[in-house]
């Protein structure tokens, strides 16, 4: 920031100190994991039964959840951003509700809705769909808690797309659906990718709702965070090593999503 004439030194000092405090506090735990877990431990933890399995399950279930969120969430966010209808703000609030619901409560809610004795349980049972204690249940839990991050960001991203761009496409002979694909999505790309990164990060870290709804069965529903918790009680070193692996994997995923958005996307990711 170029200093304006007469800029006060004490205020600049406050700004710098605040940022330094935030930076240290937010990166210290992450750094500590890598400092405490030696490379040898990391490698040996990879060989541990259940560790790679849990990590792989986390990646697989979060990717499926993200795919569902993109396919359903993108058109839904577009509708919310481009149409004004009665009850729109109520709808917006409802789809954002899972953001403020504690994960454990989300798990209970999912059980009450989709569990064997839940609202839709009998119907799902008749259709032969089992979710509780199943990998599919993990996907449901991840989708539930992370979708609002994508929806919220998606609505904001589509709202910033100039109306005239969509109008221009229509007057040039391109219908509404193709205009959505060819103009709206590319124009909102940076915001959509930022939402994607947030949702994916949330899905990879999901713990409470998965535990309540899908349980923690090795190889079936035990994602990396659940495996870390299981080891935490018995073998802290092993929990540390798996944590380091999870950080590495999520970091790589988020980075690739941001790179997709290009260097400009990085700066605007907060939008």
């Amino acid at each position: 920031m170029p200093a304006a004439i007469g800029g006060s030194r004490w205020f600049r000092a406050i700004l710098v100190v605040s940022l330094a405090l935030a930076l240290v506090f937010l990166t210290l735990p992450v750094l500590a994991i890598f400092v405490e877990a030696s490379p040898r431990q990391l490698i040996s933890s990879l060989g541990e039964p259940g560790a790679t399995e849990a990590l792989w399950l986390s990646l697989k279930t979060s990717m499926i959840a993200i795919a569902i969120i993109i396919v359903v969430g993108t058109p839904a966010a577009y509708l919310l951003a481009t149409r004004r209808f009665r009850g729109r703000s109520a709808v917006l609030t409802m789809v954002e509700l899972p953001l403020v619901v504690p994960p454990a409560v989300a798990g209970i809610g999912l059980l009450a809705a989709l569990g064997p004795t839940g609202l839709l349980g009998p119907a799902l049972g008749d259709a032969g769909v089992e979710l509780v204690l199943q990998t599919a249940g993990v996907v449901v839990a991840l989708t539930f808690v992370s979708a609002p991050f994508y929806l919220r960001q998606g609505v904001a991203a589509f709202e910033t797309v100039e109306r005239s761009l969509l109008d221009a496409s229509r007057t040039l002979g391109v219908g509404e659906a193709l205009t959505f694909v060819r103009v709206a999505i590319p124009s909102a790309r940076e915001g959509l990718l930022a939402g994607l990164a947030l949702a994916w990060g949330r899905a990879l870290g999901e713990f409470g709702a998965t535990l309540m709804f899908a349980g923690s069965y090795r190889g079936v529903t035990q994602t990396a965070p659940l495996a870390i918790y299981e080891r935490f009680g018995t073998n802290f070193t092993s929990a540390l090593a798996l944590s380091a692996l999870l950080i590495g994997a999520s970091g790589a995923l988020l980075l690739s999503v941001k790179l997709l958005g290009g260097a400009r996307g990085f700066g605007n990711a907060g939008g």
Binding site: E162, S164, L165, D167, A168, S169, R170, T171, L172, G173, V174, G175, E176, V183, P186, S187, R189
Partner: protein, 355 residues
């Protein structure tokens, strides 16, 4: 032929518009902001459905409330130049221009786009991204994109307002030429009467959703039916041919015969702009000034309209001309239709626009 006869309510505004634009002609709609200009264009393009009425192009109904016809915008294919140009930043310039071109291979669409870019003098920009272009270049890309699909109707929303004064002057000629070549019925909206006068054959003045007067620019300037139209018309525009004149000035021989001087450098066919309040009127007996940089035209008074403490004086100088003087001097000069006077203004108050 584009025919529009619609009524609607836009916010607090009651819109009631009737207009006809034959193919190959340009109609300019001039009005202050909030008078409903853009709504008219949006209704014609199908981006907005009026409450009542009918819109048709070459006899084909695009909108008919009673007949329950509402052709969607993608099937009307109006060439629309948006005020912000609305270029697709994620595409290259040529892809923007080719966006509306149908039924061709990729290379065929590229060729058509390149032809349009060439025609608008921005041939080398095809592979650039729109956000790297200047305002004038963006305007030409928007125009090329609107015209490339060969539309029957072209709509332009303040096409020059985002440009600086110099780029604007250059754009006027190109825009006129491009619209003439297209052969489409064109409707242009602007708040600038001078812009309307040089771009369009006929000008309609819009006041709070209604067209209050329609005619050629000089008809409107010479005989405004209301003070509102008189205010809206602003500058006079005379036409003539420019050539180098004495002491570095430009001399314009008006189509009506006499010559005037300007400090601006132009050549060939030009529009001569002078604001009504720059013109002073002298009675025939008054001693002629000695300043050689002054324009003096013999004129006949055709109308006197008093607007507040000012008087708007319609003059016939072979071409219509408007002067605006104080009410006091109008009374002192005993202005009335038929009186003969001399209209005087400075060469430095005379702007030139190449046509």
């Amino acid at each position: 032929m584009l025919e529009v006869d619609v009524e609607s309510t836009v916010g607090a505004l009651d819109l009631a518009i009737r207009l006809e634009v034959p193919a190959g002609e340009t109609l300019a709609i001039v009005g202050p902001s909030g008078s409903g200009k853009t709504s008219i264009l949006r209704a014609i393009a199908g981006l907005y459905a009026p409450r009542l009425g009918r819109i048709s192009s070459d006899g084909e109904a695009w909108f008919d409330r009673r007949g329950r016809v509402a052709v969607p915008p993608e099937l009307r294919r109006c060439g629309y130049v948006f005020q912000d140009y609305a270029l697709f930043d994620q595409m290259r310039v040529w892809q923007n221009v080719a966006y509306g071109v149908r039924g061709r291979s990729r290379s065929g669409r590229r060729r058509i786009a390149d032809e349009w870019l060439e025609r608008l003098d921005i041939g080398p920009l095809g592979s650039r991204r729109p956000r790297t272009l200047s305002g004038g270049e963006r305007q030409r890309v928007a125009l090329a994109r609107a015209l490339a699909p060969d539309p029957t109707v072209v709509l332009l929303d303040e096409p020059l307002s985002a440009l600086d004064a110099q780029t604007r002057r250059r754009s006027i000629r190109e825009l006129r030429a491009a619209l003439e070549v297209s052969g489409a019925a064109s409707v242009l909206v602007t708040h600038d009467f001078e812009e309307a006068a040089v771009l369009a054959g006929r000008v309609a003045v819009l006041k709070q959703g209604r067209i209050v007067q329609i005619g050629t620019a000089s008809e409107l300037a010479a005989s405004p039916e209301s003070a509102f139209v008189a205010d809206m018309t602003g500058a006079n525009v005379l036409t003539g041919t420019a050539r180098p004149g004495p002491s570095g000035l430009t001399e314009v021989v008006l189509d009506s015969g006499p010559a005037v001087l300007s400090v601006e450098n132009r050549s060939g066919r030009v529009g001569v702009g002078v604001h009504p309040w720059e013109i002073t009127l002298e009675s025939p007996g008054a001693a002629a000034g000695t300043d050689s940089a002054q324009n003096r035209l013999r004129v006949e008074v055709t109308s006197v309209t008093v607007v507040g403490n000012r008087a708007r004086v319609g003059l016939d100088a072979g071409q219509a001309l408007i002067a605006e003087v104080t009410r006091d001097s109008a009374e002192r000069l005993k202005l009335r239709p038929g009186a003969t006077l001399t209209a005087v203004w400075k060469a430095s108050s005379t702007s030139l626009v190449e046509l």
